[in-house]
């Protein structure tokens, strides 16, 4: 059975798509070295179309003459007040652009004018190289460095210096943990359970938060924050798994890219923290793995959430769980030596 894989790796090569939410215009080129702030592509996210009634202007005009009276072409840019149709003659009737924009369609009955809008700019988020152009949508980037994948993010991205606010992956982050050194930094902590801490983080302000787990009642508040918040393990009081916490803490003081994007399985996008490292011939991350003995795994659900262990046996057939359900499962030996039965679907292989 193909495993669910989460990358928590100190030095690895990987590719990532960076895509516009809607079709647009790609400005990057293949081979381009990009920084997190580099603009890759642009698109109008919420276009507005004005329908201009041409029938009033053309009223009484011979159909054969109408074409000559259209002064602009489809695709042409216009400013507000520009004449689009003029009948000429003594009773010159005109149709003017009601807004600056692009003419999308002209007929004898109507003109469709798409209003000019400031485009959304898709930034790289990573330090890497453009490997491939995905027409109208974005690019595929190639990176190498340390990578920690998360499970949830509030949609923002940012770069900054990584500071650890707590010394324990299970300890909740408190307002008093957010000291002066956290100002303008990306702050690492095991978990967060209250709104006061998030308010304190916003007031400092921090550049971002990397948390193991949060309480799900904080989701609306975290979504409203202006800086990125990435959750590594999910929603529970469990805190961060040791593997991710140890790797992130070992990178304290480094400049990191925090991409707290939503986990989108359809696009293959996950929230992640990336620390670019110079190296050659780095092996590419392996994301197609079958569950097998010896693999390091992380448990993603209660009652063993965020615990890390090794698969000691994969049951060939479905087995009965303590609650009576039947599932494909594996025996997992936790760090403390305890052996537990866990459904395969609740395990992430750590790569």
């Amino acid at each position: 059975m193909i495993a669910s894989v989460t990358v928590i790796n100190g030095l690895v090569g990987f590719q990532r798509p960076r895509l516009l939410p809607v079709d647009g215009h790609v400005v990057a080129h293949i081979g381009q070295q990009v920084m997190p702030e580099t603009v890759l592509a642009e698109a109008i996210i919420a276009p507005h179309v004005e329908v201009l009634d041409a029938r009033v202007v053309f009223s009484g005009v011979n159909r054969a003459n109408m074409k000559e009276m259209i002064e602009r072409n489809v695709g042409e840019k216009v400013e507000k007040g520009d004449v689009i149709i003029a009948t000429g003659g003594k009773l010159n009737r005109v149709l003017r652009a009601t807004t600056a924009g692009i003419i999308r369609s002209i007929s004898t009955s109507q003109v469709l004018l798409e209003a000019a809008r400031k485009p959304f700019q898709l930034r790289a988020g990573y330090t890497g190289t453009v490997q491939e152009i995905i027409p109208e949508r974005g690019v595929m980037l190639r990176m190498q460095g340390s990578l920690v994948q998360g499970v949830w993010g509030n949609g923002h991205l940012m770069t900054g210096k990584l500071i650890s606010a707590t010394i324990d992956a299970r300890k909740p982050l408190q307002p008093e943990d957010l000291r002066g050194e956290c100002v303008d930094a990306i702050v690492l902590a095991g978990r967060c359970r209250d709104a006061d801490t998030l308010q304190r983080a916003a007031m400092l302000p921090v550049r971002g938060l990397i948390l193991g787990t949060i309480s799900s009642h904080l989701i609306p508040m975290v979504r409203s924050l202006k800086f990125p918040v990435m959750v590594v393990n999910g929603f529970s009081p469990a805190g961060m798994d040791e593997s991710a916490y140890r790797l992130l803490r070992s990178n304290q003081g480094r400049r990191v890219s925090l991409l707290a994007q939503a986990w989108d399985r359809e696009l293959g996008i996950r929230p992640e923290v990336f620390i670019p490292l110079p190296a050659e011939d780095i092996r590419l991350v392996q994301e197609l793995i079958d569950y097998r003995e010896g693999l390091t795994v992380r448990i993603n659900t209660l009652p063993y959430m965020a615990q890390v262990g090794a698969i000691s046996f994969v049951h060939p057939d479905k087995v009965t769980l303590p609650n009576g359900l039947m599932a494909r499962a594996a025996d997992v030996t936790l760090k403390n030596g305890q052996s537990i039965l866990v459904p395969l679907n609740n395990l992430d292989v750590l790569e």
Partner: protein
């Protein structure tokens, strides 16, 4: 050489699992030969459903000792002289994002209503509704189209011989939408309106986008006719999926029939079942709760009402949480779990949609969630189809989370709490998830559903009688006598608020005399206070659900817990952890 038997391979691509089912015609009947199930490879890292499909078929090969895949991993068909391969392949899918759909019609309560029902049959997400007769602004519709990029516009309106100008005006708006969108992003148009202008509509939009014209969904103000449009819409949806889901096109090329949505073939089986089921006034109901969607297929004498909703036990949890309050779920948990834990669990489930509850607490949360999914879905379907009551002759339940609980009694209690049917209902569990596969194979041979539905592959839970009563709690509401075939009988009374189970073995028949007491009705459609009828038993026996409709839940937590635990005991769920299905 072995004697040749017709074989049909049905491949279903779900959001979480891919299933390969093999049916074989043996001794004049179709039988299930085997199934292979594997995790879907729809998403990262493979983005290729065929990868998982090969794995599912390999498992099926192992179980049936029949070679199905050639060396190049294509399906061998038809069956060769060595008995390798299969004769037919059919493919269904429920993987992929919700279809973005615009409903365009004339009158809110006529064509637009039918458009909405049509959209519901494929689980389409309505991103806009156009009714120019209401005087809505054209540019607002254009803006929405540009922002939401619909994949299909369903255009209806005008009865036969009725309105045409307003329909043409709406088509002009659709033409403008097409002008604004790049060629590859233009929505297909399903025209299901006044047939007198069908050619004119097609000519107007010719060169702009693909137009599929089908029979009018509202041939008259009084009549609605959705079936032709449902099939066309299902085909369009499946076609769009082949462009969205990697590997699906390859799978579809193996199929002798057009790729169809799983919900559509599930509905087809229910429609066929409704033609075999002796029913007075109430329909049969198929309910399938999957990871990303819930399907309700309500069929009566060959007429189907299909409602596909975005609530599910995996990826559909997010939509569920957006449409319900946590308290609605928590009130169905038969344990005093803190709300923070319940909320966290559900949000985590949305992140890991295929995860399985490990402990008792997680299981209770999931089962409460399923009850609320059923309630929300039933409410939606009742409003959409303006159904006056919840009377069903038979309810067939599918979907792993619903049918593969620790015991069949867990499944029955979830169904009773979630659907809250009234009157006499037979309950059946599709534990092998065969209903949609049968519907898909029915297009190859109409004997498939006849044979399969009569087989022992489905768990017959038995008959449940759910009286509607206005009596107070603990007051007797029915008096009944059950006459067994061996001549013995049992007399019993049921009080308001109580679930009573009377032994009656699977397929065993008995005669039931039941009389309503006080302000109680045995059935709502037709209204009956006394009934003498033959009852068929099942794995759960004969069940009388005396809780009334709707089920009353107390407001205090202690009372609620006591009641939940009482009902579990009454239906036969042990308070101890169950090891293995019973």
């Amino acid at each position: 050489m072995a004697e040749h038997s017709t074989t049909i391979l049905i491949i279903d691509f779900g959001a979480v699992e891919t299933t390969a089912t093999l049916l074989m015609h043996v001794d004049g009947r179709y039988e299930l030969t085997g199934q292979g199930v594997t995790n879907s490879t729809c998403y990262a890292p493979t983005f290729d459903v065929w990868h998982g499909c090969v794995s599912a078929i390999r498992k099926l090969e192992g179980r049936t000792q029949r070679l199905i895949l050639a060396n190049d991993e294509s399906v061998i068909h038809p069956t060769n002289l060595r008995g390798e391969g299969v004769d037919y392949v059919v493919v269904t899918t429920s993987a992929g994002p919700s279809l973005k759909l615009v409903a365009a019609g004339l009158l809110e309560d006529v064509s637009l209503k039918s458009c909405r029902r049509l959209a519901a049959s494929v689980g389409g997400k309505l991103v806009d509704q156009i009714s120019l007769t209401k005087g809505s602004a054209v540019d607002a519709h254009l803006d929405r189209a540009l922002k939401t990029r619909p994949e299909i516009i369903v255009l209806a309106g005008g009865t036969e011989g009725g309105a045409s100008r307003a329909v043409i005006k709406t088509a002009e708006l659709i033409k403008a939408v097409c002008h604004l969108l790049p060629g590859s992003k233009r929505p297909a148009v399903l025209y299901a309106g006044n047939q007198a202008i069908a050619d004119q509509i097609k000519a107007m939009l010719d060169g702009q986008t693909e137009v599929i014209a089908v029979a009018n969904i509202r041939p008259s103000m009084e009549k609605e006719s959705l079936s032709a449009a449902q099939y066309a819409l299902a085909e369009i949806l499946a076609y769009i999926r082949t462009k969205q889901v990697g590997g699906l096109n390859r799978a579809a090329q193996n199929s002798v029939l057009p790729l169809l949505p799983t919900s559509f073939t599930f509905g087809r089986t229910m429609r066929l079942l409704s033609t075999y089921t002796v029913t007075e006034r109430n329909p049969v109901l198929g309910v399938s709760v999957e990871s990303n969607q819930t399907t309700l297929a309500d069929a009566f004498r060959g007429s189907l009402r299909l409602d596909v909703l975005p609530y599910g036990t995996g990826t559909g949890v997010s939509t569920l949480l957006e449409n319900t309050r946590l308290e609605e779920i928590q009130q169905w948990i038969a344990s005093d779990l803190p709300s923070v834990m319940v909320r966290d669990y559900l949000h985590q489930k949305a992140l890991y949609p295929a995860s399985v509850p490990i402990d008792q607490e997680s299981l209770l949360i999931e089962q409460a969630m399923i009850r609320v999914i059923l309630q929300l879905s039933m409410t939606h379907a009742r409003q959409l189809f303006e159904k006056p009551n919840n009377g069903f002759t038979k309810i067939v339940a599918a979907g792993n989370a619903l049918t593969n609980g620790p015991t069949i009694r867990h499944s029955l209690l979830m169904l009773l709490d979630g659907i809250q049917p009234s009157g006499l209902t037979q309950f059946v569990l599709d534990e092998g998830q065969l209903m949609a596969a049968i519907g898909a194979a029915a297009a190859i041979d109409s004997a498939v559903p006849v044979h399969m539905l009569a087989s022992s592959l489905f768990a017959e839970l038995g008959t449940v009688i759910s009286p509607v009563s206005e009596e107070k709690i603990d007051r007797p509401i029915v008096h009944a006598k059950l006459h067994y075939q061996d001549g013995s009988d049992v007399t019993f009374e049921v009080k308001k608020g109580e679930i009573k189970v009377v032994p009656l073995q699977p397929r065993q028949e008995a005669e039931l005399e039941i009389t309503a007491l006080g302000r109680t009705w045995i059935t709502e459609n037709p209204v009956r206070t006394r009934l003498i009828t033959k009852i068929v038993g099942g794995l759960c026996g004969l069940v009388i659900d005396g809780r009334g409709r709707p089920i009353y839940l107390p407001s205090t937590r202690d009372d609620l817990l006591f009641l939940q635990q009482t009902w579990r005991q009454q239906i036969g769920i042990s308070s101890q952890v169950m090891a293995g299905r019973q």
